[in-house]
Symmetry: C2
DNA sequence: ATTAGTTATGCAATCGATTACACGCGGCCG
DNA sequence: CGGCCGCGTGTAATCGATTGCATAACTAAT
C-alpha cells in the first residue's frame, strides 16, 4: 500500500527522532542510547525501510562494489575464479560488477567509466593485456583507484598482484615427462601475446635445459588456449616425420583439442604419446584418458585477490609496498602420461639413450 | 595534479554556463544551442570530467545496472549465458551485477537488498527455485521491480520468461535413439527438485510413450547435472543384469561422467551403448567419442532475456501481457549414438523385434 | 557550587546531477 | 504595434543518506 519506497525520513518520523539519529542507529549503534536504538529498529521494521545505496554512495563516495574485468567469462578457468571472488565479496558486503574485456578501445573506455563514475570502488583485473598507461592513469590520481591484478602478471607495473607460479609449474609439468623417460618433448603454446603463455613456455624451456635436452623449434606448436587450436595443432603434428613422444600443453582445453585431433588418426594417448595439460578443468578426470595436469589453486587465487582489493578499498594504506602473492600449483598425475615405450608408433628415436 | 575528480560544477565554471546547461548539453544535446554545446564539450575535455553515477542515480532513481542471479557461475552453461547477457547489457549502457545463489536465506536477503537499495534496476533470474512469494513481493509493489526469469520456468508465476523447449527437445533427443533402433532406453536424471530436470524427464517419457515403449523405472538413474553423479550412475548401471542399450542424459556433464565410469569397466560407447546428452558443451565435439547432444541457443537466450529486461526497465509498460519466449534447441548428431547392433555387450534382448 | 567532561541528540550543510519553473529575447501574426 | 510563442538559459529545489558542529542534560571532579 505504501506509495513509494520508504526513506530514512519516514523512519525518523515514525521513531520520533531526527534522521541523523536514525542514520547513527543503523551504522554505528554504539553511538545512540539503547532505548532509541530499539525504537529505531521497530520503526525500520514497521516501515519496511531499506537503505538507498545511491544516497549513501553520493555522500560517502564509495559504492560498496568492485569491478571484475576479465577476457572471457565463458572460460571455466575464469568463471571459477569469478565465483571465488563473488563469494569473498559477498561475505564482506560488496557487490560484484563484471565486465567482459573484448579487445578494443570501446571496452577500455567502459572500464574507465565504471571506475571514474564511482560505480565501483576498485578494480580486479584478470587480464594482463590492458594498456598499462591507462591503468596507471587510474591508479596514479590524487583520488587513486585501488587495483589488484590477478592471474596474469603485468611486468614492472607495480600493481598489487596475486598469481600462480606459472614458470615453475610449467617446469615441473615438463620435468614429469622427463622423469617418465621422454626425451623428445614438444609444447603446445598459448596465445602469442599472452603473459601466461610466455611464462609457461619459459618453464618448459628451463626444464629441457636443466636436463640437457635441446629444444626443437618445430615441436612448439602454435595454440590459443582453446580446443580448436589444439585440434589444428594435431594436424601439424601428424604431418611431421620426426615427432615428439610427449607434449606439454599450455592448458587443458588445448590439450583436449589436440588429443581429439590425434585420436581421429589413430594416435592413442598414452600408448603413442604422453600429454600433460594445465588447469585441471572439471572434465580432466573424466576425459579419455583422464588428463595429467597442473592444478592451479583457483579458489584461493580468487579469494585472496578479492580480499586484498577490498582491504585496500577500505584502507588505502593497508598495504605498504606492492603486494605480490604467488600460489603454488600442484601436479595431478592421471593417465595421459606414461613411461615411454620402446618402439612406440612414433619413431621412438635414436637419441633416446635411457629407459 | 587535480585535487579531486572534477564535477559538473567545474565544467560549468569553465564553460561559463550553469550546471543545468552542462547537464542538458550532455544528456539532451538538442536542447542547447550549437555554440554552447561546443563550449561544454571543450570544457569536458579540458577538465577530464566524468559523470558521477551516484548523483545521477539518486536523482533519477535508476542505477543503469541489472542484477543477474544464478545458481552457479562455474557451470559453463550459465557462464555462457552470462556472457551473452553482459554483451547485451553493455551495448545498452547497463552494468551487470552478479549474485551467486547458493541456498539459504542469507543469499535471498542479499538479492532483495540489491534490488530494494536501488543498486540494480531489474532482476534477471536464472534459477527457478527461488521463493515465489518473495519475488512477487518485489514485483508487486507500487514501485515494482522488473523481473525476467530465464532458463528455468517458474510455473504459474506470471513473470516474463525466456527459455528453451526442454520437453520437446528431450523428446526429440529420445526419439533420435528410437530412430536408431533402440528399444531399451534409460534416462540419467537431473536433480530431483529442478524444473528443468523434470521437463526433460517428461519429454523422455513422452517419446517412449509415443513409440509404445514401456518405461522401466530402474533405468531412470539418479543424477545431479554434474560429472560425479554420472560417474556413480555408471556403477549402478553396471550392477544390473538387464541393461538399456541407450541412455538419454539430462545434460552433457552427467553424460561425460557416465561414459567415463562405463569405460573404466570396458563398456565402450557407441559400440556397447549409445548416449545422447544435452547442452553441447565446448568439450562435446572433442570428447571420446564426440557427443551427440541437444544444443540450446544459449547466446540467443541470454541476449533476449537481457533485451527484454532492459526494455521493461526503461518502460515498465513496454510489455502488455507477460512475455513468454520459447527457443528451439537443435540436435547435434556426433558419434556417441549409433544404430543398435545385434548382440552387443549388453543383452541386446528378446524384446527387440526390429533391426 | 562551579567547572570540565561525557553522552545523546538535533540542525543543517553536503555529496553531484537533474529538472520544474521562470525569465528574457527575438520573431511572427493579426 | 501589441501579444503570443518558443528557444536557450539560469535559479533553485530535489533525490536520500551522512556528518561536523552545536546544544542540552548529566556526571564527576575540584
Amino acid at each position: 500500500m505504501e506509495r513509494k519506497t520508504p526513506t530514512i525520513q519516514d523512519v525518523a518520523r515514525f521513531a520520533n527522532v531526527s534522521t541523523a539519529t536514525v542514520s547513527r542507529a543503523l551504522s554505528s549503534p554504539e553511538k545512540v542510547s539503547e532505548g532509541t536504538r530499539a525504537r529505531v529498529s521497530e520503526a525500520v521494521r514497521v516501515t519496511g525501510y531499506t537503505l538507498n545505496q545511491a544516497g549513501r554512495s553520493l555522500r560517502q563516495r564509495s559504492a560498496k562494489t568492485i569491478l571484475v574485468a576479465l577476457p572471457d567469462i565463458r572460460n571455466p578457468f575464469f568463471s571459477s575464479i569469478l565465483d571465488a571472488i563473488e563469494r569473498e565479496a559477498a561475505a564482506r558486503g560488496y557487490g560484484v560488477l563484471v565486465l567482459n574485456l573484448y579487445f578494443g578501445h570501446e571496452t577500455i573506455r567502459r572500464l574507465q567509466d565504471f571506475l571514474l563514475s564511482n560505480r565501483a570502488d576498485g578494480l580486479l583485473l584478470l587480464d594482463g593485456s590492458v594498456d598499462t598507461n591507462l591503468l596507471h592513469a587510474l591508479a596514479g590520481q590524487a583520488d587513486a583507484i585501488p587495483i589488484v591484478v590477478a592471474c596474469e602478471e603485468i611486468p614492472n607495473s607495480g600493481f598489487h598482484t596475486v598469481l600462480t607460479d606459472n614458470v615453475d609449474a610449467a617446469e615441473r609439468a615438463t620435468q614429469h615427462l622427463i622423469d617418465l623417460g621422454h626425451r623428445r618433448i614438444g609444447h603446445l603454446l598459448g596465445p602469442d601475446h599472452n603473459v601466461v603463455s610466455r611464462e609457461r613456455f619459459t618453464g618448459f624451456s628451463r626444464a629441457l635445459a636443466a636436463s640437457g635436452l635441446t629444444p626443437v623449434p618445430e615441436w612448439s606448436f602454435r595454440g590459443n588456449f582453446d580446443m580448436e587450436s589444439g585440434f589444428s595443432a594435431a594436424a601439424r603434428f601428424l604431418s611431421m616425420t620426426e615427432r615428439p613422444t610427449a607434449i606439454f600443453a599450455a592448458n587443458d582445453e588445448s590439450a583436449i583439442g589436440f588429443l581429439s585431433g590425434l585420436r581421429q588418426h589413430g594416435i592413442i594417448c598414452p600408448r603413442d604419446i604422453s600429454v600433460v595439460g594445465f588447469d585441471d578443468l572439471g572434465v580432466a578426470p573424466h576425459y579419455v584418458p583422464p588428463l595429467t595436469t597442473m592444478r592451479q589453486p583457483r579458489e584461493a587465487l580468487g579469494r585472496m585477490a578479492a580480499e586484498a582489493l577490498i582491504d585496500i578499498v577500505e584502507d588505502p594504506d593497508a598495504l605498504g609496498i606492492p603486494l605480490r602473492i604467488v600460489l603454488r600449483s600442484e601436479l595431478v598425475v592421471r593417465e595421459s602420461t606414461a613411461r615411454i615405450a620402446r618402439g612406440g608408433t612414433n619413431k621412438a628415436g635414436t637419441d633416446n639413450p635411457s629407459s
